[in-house]
């Protein structure tokens, strides 16, 4: 495994009926990296993950997961892989402990071996006092953490996460992020899909932005911001925005309008801020450009579903 990528996919293509949802995707993730696959709904992220896990056969392309060719030896590869799915699929008939034991058995582990790992897994998930709790009594955040703990039952080298924090409140989300950082510090490889840019910016060393089945940009979050977008943003809305926008267009290189809000992008936004100084009707927010701005620039502002 030394030096070889933990996951490498080349030229992946996949169609469902007439629609090609993955259209030539290349991914390479070195061991120990946290890699983010970003994209709007329907971009092909989940399908790409399924292809990498060997749960769906690509129409074209090759995949190697932890040194094993996929889908041919996907079963062997999955022995050392953990998965946090997009939708909760914990076993509702079982307690917290039973969920972990039953899941560990799928990996061929002995019950004793699994039980030895449980205290550590529950500690990690912040569920130490809840070993015997029924799944129905757990909050959304607790279930998500248990799903994460379940994905670690086989001590995986690589963990796939499909939108790990969707539907969680900020406290729960920050806690999960903390856990994920901890996992990368232990040397595990993480591959996550998300449409929270903030999540990707905080966690991922490298991200790829995917749209319409293709990867349209790739690099570290900082690189992507530097490469694709001006460093400062001013968002403006309020009475008289039309008239002001006409003027703003001459002050900065790029002005965009979405509904009633005007976005001004520039490396130097001083002229914009000066022009806003006398406009009490207009409300504005001045902030550094983020990955979300890159994402919206590259994938557009139109709704996807």
């Amino acid at each position: 495994m030394n030096g070889a990528p933990a996951l490498s996919a080349r030229g992946l293509r996949k169609s469902f009926g007439e629609t090609e949802v993955v259209r030539g995707v290349d991914i390479e993730v070195p061991p120990g990296e946290c890699f983010g696959l970003l994209g709007p709904n329907g971009a092909g992220k989940t399908t790409t993950l399924k292809l990498c896990l060997g749960l769906s056969d690509p129409d074209a392309g090759t995949i190697e997961l932890l040194g094993e060719p996929v889908p041919r030896r996907a079963r062997e590869a999955r022995r050392h892989v953990g998965v946090v799915p997009q939708f909760d699929n914990l076993d509702p008939d079982f307690t917290v402990t039973e969920n972990l034991v039953v899941y560990g058995r799928y990996f061929g582990m002995q019950v004793r071996e699994i039980e030895a790992r449980i205290p550590q897994l529950l500690e990690f998930a912040g569920l130490a006092g809840r070993a015997q709790a029924k799944i129905q009594t757990l909050s959304g955040g607790m279930r998500r953490r248990l799903t994460l703990a379940r994905a670690l039952v086989n001590d995986p080298k690589l963990i796939f996460m499909d939108e790990p924090t969707t539907g969680l409140d900020p406290q729960a989300r920050h806690l999960i992020w903390e856990h994920l950082r901890h996992l990368t510090l232990e040397g595990r490889t993480l591959v996550l899909t998300t449409h929270f840019m903030e999540e990707a910016e905080r966690l991922c060393r490298r991200v790829a932005i995917m749209d319409h089945g293709r990867i349209i940009a790739e690099g570290s979050p900082r690189q992507l911001v530097a490469r694709h977008i001006e460093s400062q943003v001013v968002e403006v809305h309020g009475q008289g925005i039309e008239a002001w926008m006409a003027r703003a267009a001459s002050l900065v290189p790029r002005v965009e309008r979405a509904g009633e809000t005007v976005f001004c992008y520039a490396s130097d936004v001083k002229p914009v801020l000066e022009s806003l100084a006398g406009q009490s009707e207009l409300v504005y927010l001045h902030r550094p450009a983020s990955l979300e701005d890159v994402f919206l620039k590259l994938t557009g502002r139109d709704l996807r579903d």
């Binding site: 469902f16 896990l53 749960l55 769906s56 056969d57 079963r75 062997e76 999955r78 022995r79 892989v81 998965v83 799915p85 939708f87 909760d88 699929n89 914990l90 076993d91 509702p92 008939d93 079982f94 039973e98 039953v102 899941y103 058995r105 799928y106 990996f107 061929g108 086989n154």
Partner: protein
């Protein structure tokens, strides 16, 4: 999934076992109500018809009507237990709870999952069939130790109907879908398979339908065993049940692959 892989024979491996264990663990929590549930329906019918209708009919084919019915109900209770497990319970694991999705993220294939479910449906059917057998034995309607030989036959009936149910499950869009199978396939099968009355009394055209039904062959084997006789044509009956089990299992695997491995 390419066609060659979709239609390939099921890849059997010992990995199906944890799936069986998972279902067993759920069942253990509710074992008593579950067995009573599987028993109540056939036993109410059996005792009602056996004593009630039996009083009118008297003897049938040389035994009391109750004894006649008992042989049929061991087979039909097995059929229903396998069917309900492979329809409603498997559907909630596959579709509602997404349990199968969780399992195939581990080093199990969908073939392992379907195999585990199949083995589980047959086990539950075995428990139901044996429970009915024990009850009729307690009431004195089993007159030979050969009845023990009905136990593996019950398992085979469970495998056949479990596999048929899993095939239907792979096609279902919701629980409602199953009423078609229950009312259009199983209810007529229950009537035409010699559970309540000898098929030989029916018009020949209908007899021709009866002999292709799996339950007919199950009843034909089990009933004489309870009174210590082997059915004429035993091997043919066994072969038909085994063929149903094997072919339906293959169909169940292919249809489930088509549904879940896109």
């Amino acid at each position: 999934m390419n066609l060659a892989r979709r239609y390939a024979p099921p890849a059997l491996s010992a990995r199906f076992w944890p799936v069986w264990q998972r279902n067993f663990l759920v069942w253990k929590k509710l074992a008593l109500p579950s067995i009573l549930g599987n028993l109540a329906d056939p036993l109410i019918l059996l005792f009602g018809l056996g004593y009630g209708l039996g009083a009118v009919i008297g003897e049938l084919e040389g035994t009391s009507y109750f004894a006649y019915l008992a042989g049929g109900f061991v087979a039909s209770a097995t059929m229903y237990a396998a069917t309900f497990e492979s329809l409603f319970s498997a559907f909630s694991r596959m579709h509602v709870q997404r349990t199968w999705e969780a399992i195939v993220n581990a080093p199990l294939t969908l073939d392992d999952v379907v195999t585990g479910e199949w083995a589980w449906c047959a086990s539950k059917a075995l428990a139901a069939g044996v429970a009915v057998l024990i009850v009729v034995a307690l009431f004195g309607y089993v007159s030979s130790a050969l009845a023990l030989a009905a136990i593996p036959v019950v398992l085979l009936i469970g495998l056949a109907f479990g596999a048929l149910g899993l095939s239907i499950n792979a096609l279902a869009s919701s629980y409602d879908y199953f009423s078609y199978y229950l009312t259009l396939a199983l209810t007529p099968m229950m009537i035409l398979s010699g559970v309540f009355f000898p098929v030989e009394r029916l018009p020949e055209a209908i007899q021709a339908i009866a002999v292709v039904l799996p339950l007919y062959h199950g009843v034909a084997i089990v009933r004489p065993m309870l009174s210590g006789a082997l059915a004429p044509g035993l091997l043919v009956h066994l072969a038909v049940l085994a063929a149903y089990a094997i072919v339906a299992f293959y169909v169940a695997v292919v249809l489930t692959r088509r549904r879940l491995l896109k």
